[in-house]
């Protein structure tokens, strides 16, 4: 890699994408975008305890159960990924 490459916009983006999970790029599919949004949302719900409490009141579950459910949902937040086009 040449020294000049380090500063061009693409390599900076790549660096960002590696560092911050969920940083978008031009070829992001709708599914990938949604998955990121969902995972971020679940992480936010778990992090903000009042929100977690709010959900658990609605669902009438314990807060611990609700937190566990949200963590589990981070695995496949939007269901199965779509079939990829061959090309």
């Amino acid at each position: 890699m040449q020294a000049s490459d380090r500063f061009n916009i693409n390599s900076q983006l790549e660096h960002l994408q590696a560092k911050y999970v969920g940083t978008g790029h031009a070829d992001l599919t709708r599914f990938e975008w949604a998955v990121n949004i969902q995972r971020d949302s679940y992480a936010s719900y778990i992090g903000h305890s009042p929100m977690l409490a709010y959900f658990s009141i609605a669902e009438n579950e314990s807060i611990g159960r609700e937190r566990y459910n949200f963590m589990q949902k981070m695995l496949l937040p939007c269901g199965l990924p779509p079939e990829r086009d061959e090309d």
Partner: protein
């Protein structure tokens, strides 16, 4: 408009709690615990507040040592101790993107930030650490992790000066991996090892067939920190049960086998590196539906010298005791034994002194005492008796029973969650009451909050006539308890002696045939009674010296302390007496006053001195004079203060110097002169201890009745009772002077009281009664009375005329009342056979008297779980005065009540009616779904005590909002706003508008405007045109807001709160509003055109503030008589706050500058930037954070001075400003 935000009741719910010895103090009670062990405190995170609690073994209560707002969401806490140290540090994982290590300083009573390490961006992001925290048991390293990917390990050490040092972080990241739980292994002094439950998702994201997702496997991963190489390596990663959710460290080294307990859904495993898995099934409640698992949500470890065990609590509240049978490093058996059942907690802590602190996730927290350690035979599941069938492992069943091993000894109140709130004065008291619907499920309550301190009455007895004054006196200054209560009536004095009982005596030498003006202990051991005709001095040996007034003069006023007495005679004459060394009371000086004396007071004798120098004289010419009592300038004026009205009562309050310590900040000794003025104002001024000059005056209106002041003792310090229309208590709390009302009716006279049964009480007279009470929960803003409810309260309304409350309650996934009854009977009939463990039958009290012990209180055990799509619900009419439920309608058929309102239809046939919106078969996942919605119309019968169904109307969606409008009923049915009129058989649709984006959650009306709140899209302003029978939206908000609460402020303004914890005010610009009102079509033409897919006009945000907690209710109200209205809010985490609008620009400037300086000089403890926190979702606008401003009172004096200099004021002036604005709110 500028607003001032002030939290009135701090968050009462608990997010997490850790136990440790943060003050590092030695335990005073060495008998109870091992000698040399230190006292334990509990650090509790309540949303954005960090609290330190200490259990007081004498009272059995928890005492809040420190409560500090950190302005950040605290997500995890951990405690650690460096090897050989006696004091624990507190690690805080928050949303600040920083790791903060705090040290509690017992001398200054505050947390000091020892280290603050920045590692990432702020906010709760999934890859920024803060959610999970683990510390090596030997305090050598800590690991802080995010939900995904990142884990950072810091090495902790100490430098030459024994200060804590922290290394730069070592990374142990793994991409595309979710971390469920993190803990540190106890591996003695070997390299620190951290363990985590991890789940990788990269494969599942790529595989469209779903095979990878099905096979996704959780791993238990061990990370070893090599202290020599300063490097973290991923040492081992072993597959583990896919239901794993929580790790608990097993003691290691000399104490145990080391390793981990892995709590999984339905199982508990013991795991260690290179150790075979030991598995046991968690016993199941017999009535649990098959679809439900059992998850451990809280865990605590108890360690004694020779053994240890774990307490694990399930999501249903059952606590299990887990023991390990181990031999050397191998674990041979894991036993799970049913221990007891308590409400579900978010954290449990075992105290060394044999107590269990349970921080409930909803509702009151509790303290339990261990009676047994669960040695008795009980339902038990063990790894040795594992039964494996085709469907997996077969669980052991049990039925929860009454508490056996632990005993509840104290509760700490928690309002969490506040579901709805209403401020109203239903009891015709001086201040309005705050009605809050709190709690969840079986622990739901309606709580009535009253501003002020609670009193608990110890005794009340009727007296023969109406007393005018009361005193309690000791016989000797060295005695602990009072000897007499002296009650003065209009012309007699009654003396009661305090012993086993309180009874009248006649041998006390007090003069009974006249009324008394003052009774007190004089000198060391003599008593004094001042009556109109003289002073009666009763010596210890029973001798009586009587000083008589000259001529026909009578004594009108008295002031005295322990050694000095001053009296005012009717002829405007002042006579001053002093107690001599011989114990004789001698007249010293006489002086004629220019006018009648209104009141007198002498300052208390300073310690080590013979006399106090100050006498305060209040006159009817609206002045208070300070006179000297020194022999050389006796009765000469030192200073004069003019006041707004004639003083009625005077009192000096001496504040002892404090050099910090647990209860107080640093403050020098101070003398305050308090005066109750005729116009009802309490006037307080600082008296210079040398010159007697008065400075720094504060005044506060207490009530129309002139306050009379009485000294008393509160938590071993001098305090002041001010009796106006209601009593107020002025006392020092955590270094600050507070003036708080007591929740009690008017008192005539009061005195401090101390006896065997009640060491720090107050004796008071009111009406014809003598009352003895104690004052509790100092420092609290509200005191509460709770009325139990059946299910989670959703909303309630006040029936204005009858002052009853109509409450709707509903719960998801619970059995209805009849089914519960049936299940209970079934259980009782079958006895304990169902328990799956026949030995249980021999348990005490199960057979005989089993009725009682088996009838489980739902409050303790929760309702049995049903399938999650089932709903139960009820409508209740409640009389808050008698606390009786006068009517309770349980809804049938899986219906849930969701909205309620009072409505008066045009047709006045039925008068006021109650409309209740319900949803049948409501489900949230995967999409909201229901089988039908209904609007019930009820008629009040039996004078509003009962309900009678008029009719019900089916609607197609959930009717989440109802409101009366121009003699009709407006209903938000899903996304449709509809106007109904009352028909004979059902409601009649009159008009509707289907243009709302999502779901209507709130409707407010004012004149012809309708303010509609949408679940996701903020407010929409509508109008109704009668002539064309048309509803149309003329303005909406450009910002998407997930509305949780709304309140109407004025014609153009609404206040709202969103799900993310913001409060905002939205206003229709004035010109637009005028234009619409002037337009003959009411903006209708424009509406037809629309703008950018929305309404033609936009409402704009005029104020915005991040509270940090989901606000569930808003109301515009005034909490004090004559006070300005403010917006009161209640939150899910159980806090109550207020937003007050400033009424002058000067104050806005002052407070915004103060806020600015505090942000700089006193950054929040969590490491979060204050402004960033208050702008978490939207930039904060025009709201000044009073919680931050009030921290000014607790910062060091030099910083205070620095800030005050910047503001061109003195610290005293700033404190006064803060006090003033607080007094405007509460």
């Amino acid at each position: 408009m500028y607003l001032y935000n002030l939290t009135l009741q701090r968050t009462t719910g608990v997010v997490c709690a850790v136990i440790g010895s943060f003050s590092g103090r030695d335990s005073k009670k060495s008998s109870a615990t091992a000698p040399g062990s230190s006292t334990q405190e509990i650090a509790v995170a309540r949303g954005s507040t960090l609290e330190l609690l200490r259990h007081d073994p004498d009272t059995g209560r928890f005492h809040t040592m420190l409560s500090v707002d950190v302005f950040g969401a605290i997500r995890s806490l951990a405690q650690f101790r460096l090897p050989g140290a006696t004091k624990d540090y507190l690690v805080v994982g928050s949303d600040s993107g920083r790791l903060v290590i705090l040290e509690y300083s017992p001398d200054r009573n505050r947390f000091d930030k020892v280290h603050q390490e920045t590692f990432g961006k702020s906010c709760c992001r999934r890859t920024v650490p803060g959610q999970l925290l683990a510390v090596d048991p030997k305090g050598r390293a800590l690991c802080i992790a995010a939900l995904e990917k990142q884990k950072l390990v810091y090495v902790l050490n100490r430098d030459a000066a024994a200060r804590l040092t922290i290394s730069s972080p070592l990374e142990a990241h793994k991409s595309n991996t979710i971390t469920f739980s993190l803990t540190a292994l106890d591996c003695g002094f070997g390299n620190p090892i951290f363990a985590a439950i991890e789940l990788e998702y990269a494969e599942s994201d790529r595989d469209p067939t779903g095979q990878a997702a099905d096979q996704a496997q959780k791993y238990l991963t061990f990370y070893e920190l090599d202290l020599g190489l300063n490097h973290v390596s991923r040492k081992a990663s072993e597959p583990i049960d896919n239901g794993a959710n929580l790790l608990v460290t097993v003691p290691g080294g000399a104490d145990g086998p080391s390793g981990l307990l892995v709590c999984c859904e339905n199982f508990v495993l013991y795991r260690n590196q290179g150790h075979p898995e030991v598995l046991a099934v968690i016993p199941r409640r017999a009535d649990l539906p098959a679809e439900r698992g059992v998850l451990i949500v809280a865990a605590a470890t108890h360690r004694q010298k020779d053994k240890f065990f774990f307490l694990l609590q399930t999501e249903y509240g059952d606590i299990f005791k887990v023991d390990l049978e181990h031999n050397g490093g191998t674990v041979t058996e894991l036993r799970i034994k049913y221990f007891d059942t308590i409400p579900v907690t978010s954290a449990i802590c075992v105290l060394q002194s044999g107590f269990l602190f349970a921080a409930s996730e909803f509702g009151n927290h509790a303290l339990y005492q261990f009676r047994y350690l669960g040695q008795d035979v009980d339902v038990e599941s063990s790894s040795a008796t594992l039964m494996e069938t085709e469907e997996g492992f077969h669980p052991v069943f049990f039925q929860p029973r009454a508490l056996k091993n632990i005993l509840c000894i104290n509760e700490i109140e928690s309002l969490m969650p506040i579901m709805d709130m209403c401020v109203a004065n239903l009891f015709d008291e001086e201040t309005p009451q705050v009605f809050t619907a709190c709690g969840r499920g079986s622990r739901s309550t309606l709580r009535i909050l009253r501003p002020g301190l609670a009193i608990s009455e110890m005794a009340r007895s009727m007296l023969p006539a109406e007393p005018i004054a009361v005193w309690a006196v000791k016989k000797n200054i060295n005695y602990m308890f009072d000897a007499y209560i002296v009650v003065s009536f209009a012309n007699v004095t009654l003396v009661l002696s305090i012993g086993e009982t309180i009874e009248e005596v006649s041998d006390s030498q007090f003069l009974g045939t006249t009324h008394s003006l003052a009774v007190s202990l004089l000198g060391e051991n003599s008593l004094m009674q001042v009556h109109p005709n003289g002073i009666r001095h009763i010596r210890e040996d029973g001798r009586v010296n009587e000083w008589r007034t000259p001529g026909k003069k009578t004594i009108t006023k008295v002031g005295s302390n322990q050694l000095q007495v001053v009296i005012a005679l009717s002829g405007e004459e002042l006579i001053y007496f002093e107690m001599e060394m011989t114990g004789q009371l001698m007249e010293v000086e006489k002086q004629d006053m220019s006018g009648d004396v209104a009141c007198l007071a002498i300052a208390p004798v300073p310690e080590g001195r013979q006399r106090s120098r100050f006498l305060a004289v209040g006159s009817y010419d609206n002045t208070i004079r300070i006179l000297s009592l020194d022999p050389d300038d006796c009765l000469q004026p030192l200073s004069v203060q003019s006041v707004s009205s004639a003083p009625e009562s005077l009192m000096f309050l001496e504040v002892q110097a404090s050099v910090g310590g647990e209860d107080g900040a640093d403050h020098p000794a101070n003398l305050f002169l308090n005066a109750g003025l005729r116009n009802g104002v309490l006037f307080r001024t600082n008296v210079d201890m040398v010159t007697g000059q008065l400075s720094d005056t504060r005044s506060r209106f207490l009530g129309p009745r002139p306050p009379t002041l009485f000294p008393c003792i509160i938590s071993h310090r001098q305090a002041m009772l001010c009796l106006s229309n209601r009593p107020w208590l002025g006392y020092m709390h955590q270094g600050h002077f507070r003036l708080t009302p007591l929740s009690c009716d008017t008192l005539e006279s009061a005195a401090s009281f101390s006896s065997d049964q009640c060491t720090e009480g107050v004796v008071a007279v009111a009406g014809g009664a003598l009352r003895i009470f104690t004052i509790e929960r100092l420092g609290e803003t509200f005191n509460e009375t709770a009325i139990p409810l059946r299910y989670t309260p959703r909303k309630f309304v006040i029936l204005p005329k009858k002052k009853y409350l109509a409450v709707i309650e509903s719960d998801k996934g619970a059995l209805s009342a009849e089914e519960r009854e049936a299940a209970k009977e079934c259980f009782e009939a079958s006895g304990a056979v169902e328990n799956g463990n026949s030995k249980m039958q021999n348990g005490d009290g199960l057979e005989e008297g089993g009725e009682e012990s088996n009838t489980l209180s739902d409050e303790q055990y929760g309702y049995p779980k049903a399938e999650s799509e089932r709903w139960v619900s009820c409508i209740r009419i409640l009389d808050p005065r008698s606390r009786d439920t006068t009517c309770l309608l349980e809804l049938q058929d899986n219906e849930a009540a969701v909205s309620i309102c009072m409505v008066n239809f045009h047709d006045k046939e039925h008068g006021t009616l109650l409309a209740v919106g319900t949803a049948k078969g409501l489900q949230f996942w995967p999409k909201r779904n229901l089988s039908a919605g209904f609007i019930y119309i009820y008629k009040f019968v039996d004078e509003g005590r009962s309900l009678e169904l008029l009719h019900k109307t089916q609607v197609e969606e959930v009717p989440l909002a109802l409101c009366q409008f121009q003699g009709r009923l407006l209903a938000g049915v899903g996304s449709v706003l509809r106007l109904y009129d009352l028909g004979k058989r059902k409601l009649l649709r009159k008009c509707e508008n289907k243009l709302f984006p999502r779901t209507i959650v709130s409707i407010h009306t004012y004149r012809d405007r309708i303010y509609v709140g949408d679940m996701q899209e903020s407010f929409h302003y509508c109008k109704y045109r009668q002539d064309e029978n048309q509803l149309y939206i003329f303005a909406d908000d450009g910002v998407p807001r997930w509305l949780t609460a709304a309140n109407h402020i004025d014609f153009d303004t609404m206040a709202g709160a969103d799900k993310f914890g913001n409060i905002y005010f939205a206003r229709l610009p004035k010109d637009v509003s005028d234009e619409i009102e002037e337009d003959p079509t009411g903006g209708e033409i424009k509406w037809e055109q629309g703008k950018l897919n929305g309404a033609p006009n936009r409402i704009v945000e005029i104020a915005q503030f991040h509270v940090g907690d989901v606000v569930t209710c808003l109301q515009k109200a005034s909490l004090i008589p004559g006070g300005g209205e403010c917006l009161i809010y209640g939150t899910v985490m159980g806090s109550v706050g207020a937003l007050l609008a400033f009424n002058c620009r000067e104050d806005v400037d002052f407070f915004s500058h103060l806020e600015m300086h505090l942000r700089q000089e006193h950054p929040p403890l969590s490491g979060r930037d204050h402004m960033e926190y208050r702008s978490s979702y939207f930039p904060v606008k025009d709201v000044i954070d009073g919680d931050l401003c009030e921290q000014f009172t607790s910062i060091p004096a030099d910083t205070q001075r620095k800030i005050a200099d910047e503001l061109d004021r003195t610290p005293g002036e700033i404190l006064k400003k803060l006090e003033d604005i607080r007094n405007k709110i509460i």
